[in-house]
């Protein structure tokens, strides 16, 4: 079964490395968000595979934390990217508030 263990670790490590490639190369912030989300899920899967292979249940609570962290991180960064604006304030010093959604802007013009 040692060969199967090596194949398992190689598959998960390859997936994580390809996610890292996208994380480095990703042309925009949202690509990096998707890559980070996937990378954390793959890390959780790798921890589960390790726990299953060595029959060590100590790592199981870590899985819950990692999956929670992946969700919260991707959602918060996505909200942050959605709120990024061209100008930080209007000319008379007021805060511009939330941006108009592209769909609404297209409907009005």
């Amino acid at each position: 079964m040692i060969a199967v263990d090596a194949v398992l670790y190689a598959l998960i490590g390859g997936g994580a490395l390809l996610c890292l490639v996208r994380l480095v190369r990703g042309p925009s912030l949202l690509d990096r968000v998707v890559a980070t989300d996937t990378l954390l899920v793959i890390i959780a899967a790798g921890l589960a595979v390790h726990a299953a292979l060595v029959r060590d249940p100590t790592l199981v609570p870590v899985l819950v934390v990692v999956s929670l962290l992946a969700f919260v991180g991707s959602v918060s960064v996505a909200r942050y990217v959605g709120g990024m604006l061209l100008r930080a304030s209007t000319d008379d010093g007021r805060d511009v508030g939330l941006p108009v959604a592209a769909e609404e802007r297209e409907g009005r013009s």
Binding site: S28, A45, R55, P57, M84, A102, E106
Partner: protein, 136 residues
């Protein structure tokens, strides 16, 4: 019986790990955010589910099985939420390759973009409006 359970667990683990590799390949190869997200959510649901089943077979004891089931259920609940948020933000920031879309139900009739540029701020004007004037 234990040999059969081991073989079943190894099959589940190998299938889940293969899905993880598939997700990495899709993330590198696919052209824009929406298709990359389509590739990236595969390990998030099916791969994690298979890995959790395999680990629950290998680790004996109901406490571990329940906690792994909690992780799997949590992935099933949160994957659609984060995918919806990311895709909505990607569409609003015009981070979509419109030439690759077959159906675009959110597209307005009059305002459209010519080029795929990647990150744009939320209040950036459309590149071309209905009268054919170039935007700012």
């Amino acid at each position: 019986m234990t040999a059969f359970a081991d073989v079943l667990a190894y099959a589940c683990l190998v299938a889940g790990a293969t899905l993880c590799l598939t997700a990495g390949l899709g993330l590198v190869r696919f052209p824009d955010v929406l298709s990359r997200m389509h590739a990236g959510t595969k390990p998030q649901v099916l791969g994690v589910l298979l890995v959790m089943v395999g680990a629950a077979i290998r680790l004996d004891g109901w406490a571990n099985a329940w906690m792994l089931l909690l992780v799997a259920a949590f992935q099933l609940l949160t994957a659609p939420v984060s995918a919806h948020l990311i895709s909505r933000v990607a569409y609003r920031r015009r981070h979509v390759r419109r030439d690759l879309l077959l159906v675009d139900e959110l597209r307005g009739a009059e305002a459209q973009d010519d080029a795929h540029r990647g990150d744009e701020p939320g209040d950036a004007p459309p590149e071309r409006d209905g009268a054919g004037r170039a935007g700012v």
